[in-house]
Symmetry: C2
Subunit: 308 residues, 2 copies
């Protein structure tokens, strides 16, 4: 069973005016710091290459295709892959994906320690809305610019560990961790861009938002006996504040590393993946304890059915 140092590369804001080259240079700087810290697996945020553009409304969606990547790696990101390979650090990061067929996804990829892409995930739980919503204090148009992911919740064995990916709002959904838990996941990696204020409830500010973020990841970790690494893009981005709070959670649901800043910052923790075994073999020995015959609603209905 593997035992290595996992890192989270929290990133400060990426302004609209920043170039992807600027951003990749920052990511490589974080990778260098990670190498010094002995990190073997490094997690970058969601949409790590650009500003969080779904906060703006574009009448013509195609106007925002400039924020999407048509291939990965591409000319701009190749230096990141090269440096990761040289440093023998597996990485995962998020980006907006535009497929050859013209489909748009909020995507993350996973590489092995040789810099090869071994996994791809497309965000399933897109928050927000499709049309401009004047009721909100700001827009959150992920449902406008992306389609929901079509790849499910796969896992991969990478560096000896069973890994899966999620993205941002996915972390609030227990189904996500469970689908991976049912495949024996030992490390769930996820990145996020989360406004520090609820656009529909102004009084729900930073403290409460951090609490909800922690709570969801800690419960997902504990209830599936897996490590979870959640990494933010944070700080004031194009005038909008994104929460930080990047954390590494152990299979007991305990936070073992936490970012202190809202900028580019490395967090890391030595993970003993054998520690996943205890939970998986006792309290959460799914084969002995789960009762799918009573869980039917979880897959047979998406919304609430009020019968009483």
């Amino acid at each position: 069973m593997a035992d290595f140092v996992v890192g989270g590369a929290q990133m400060g804001p990426i302004q609209r005016a920043d170039t992807r080259e600027d951003v990749v240079a920052r990511m490589i700087a974080l990778l260098e710091r990670a190498a010094v810290a002995g990190v073997e697996m490094l997690v970058f945020p969601e949409l790590a290459l650009t500003t969080f553009f779904p906060r703006w409304y574009a009448e013509d969606r195609a106007e925002f295709d400039k924020y999407f990547e048509r291939e990965m790696p591409n000319a701009v990101t190749q230096p990141l892959f090269d440096r990761a390979r040289e440093l023998e650090i597996a990485i995962t990061f998020g980006y907006a994906e535009l497929t050859p067929e013209g489909r748009h996804f909020n995507t993350s990829i996973l590489t092995d320690r040789a810099g090869r892409i071994v996994g791809k995930y497309r965000k399933v739980h897109l928050p927000g809305h499709v049309e401009h919503d004047p009721e909100r204090s700001f827009q959150h148009l992920e449902k406008r610019y992306f389609e929901p992911g079509d790849l499910g919740f796969p896992v991969w064995r990478n560096a000896g560990v069973v890994m899966g990916m999620a993205i941002c709002n996915d972390r609030r959904w227990p189904e996500v961790y469970r689908c991976m838990g049912l495949q024996g996941v030992e490390l769930v990696t996820l990145g996020y861009n989360t406004p520090s204020v609820n656009s529909q409830k102004g009084e729900e500010g930073l403290e409460r938002r951090l609490f909800h973020s922690d709570l969801s990841m800690q419960a997902g970790a504990y209830q599936n006996a897996t490590y979870v690494v959640g990494v933010a893009k944070a700080g004031v981005e194009d005038g909008h504040h994104l929460m930080a709070g990047s954390i590494i959670v152990d299979p007991n649901g305990v936070i073992i590393a936490r970012a202190k800043t809202e900028g580019d910052e490395l967090i890391s923790a030595a993970c003993d993946f054998a520690a996943c075994r205890f939970g998986k073999e006792t309290m959460f020995d799914f084969a002995r304890h789960r009762r799918p015959e009573h869980y039917g609603r979880i897959t047979s209905q998406s919304g609430v059915v009020l019968e009483v």
Copy 2:
């Protein structure tokens, strides 16, 4: 939308030597205190009428039928129902149920404010084991003395609120809250008898056990925008320490009441059930955001399937 005070009637230990009459007298005393506090719905623990007998091994299971109730209400519990009706307090409590067909369940019932039983739940997630396990520091033989519940996770509208029940170990399983959440639940009630030390991991003591208990209930509350009330039978029972930590959690996952002792203790909180709406209509608007087409494993497999 209803708005009333919910109470948790934490109970101290029930020794083997205690009679059910002794116990019902304590429950009625808690009910009286609840009435003074303005409680309209009161939650008692799991197996509220007896000691937690699954900690002992009986070669002949029938030897423990003495801990089971053959009807509910019965002569011993009728005064509890009567007093609840007079005080107009809806109640829920757990007991060991022996059916006319000879089946054994770990059960809880729910009454309306007129003292009528309106709902029954049978514990689905039985922890522990069937045969004597010499590796454990003490036994946890729920799988020996009970069969898994056969009623699923129903909800009822009671006192104007959509309520559902769970029991003890059920609280660690996100499927439980979700099945009720998909029926619009606004109040999940549950009782527990939880040893304060993990029988298979001695160093996992009280603090960690309380953390796991809180974490599971808080996540279940937040992710389904529901109140959750978890109520312990606590203290040193027949030489075994049970954790306390009874809590009431709001739909934000925030703990709004917590027991301070390990004895008979009333906790209560004014619950504004309209507060469930915000989560149910935004972040956790299931119809808009859930994607059951990707959740298939949750119902198609019970145990882990390792494919990588």
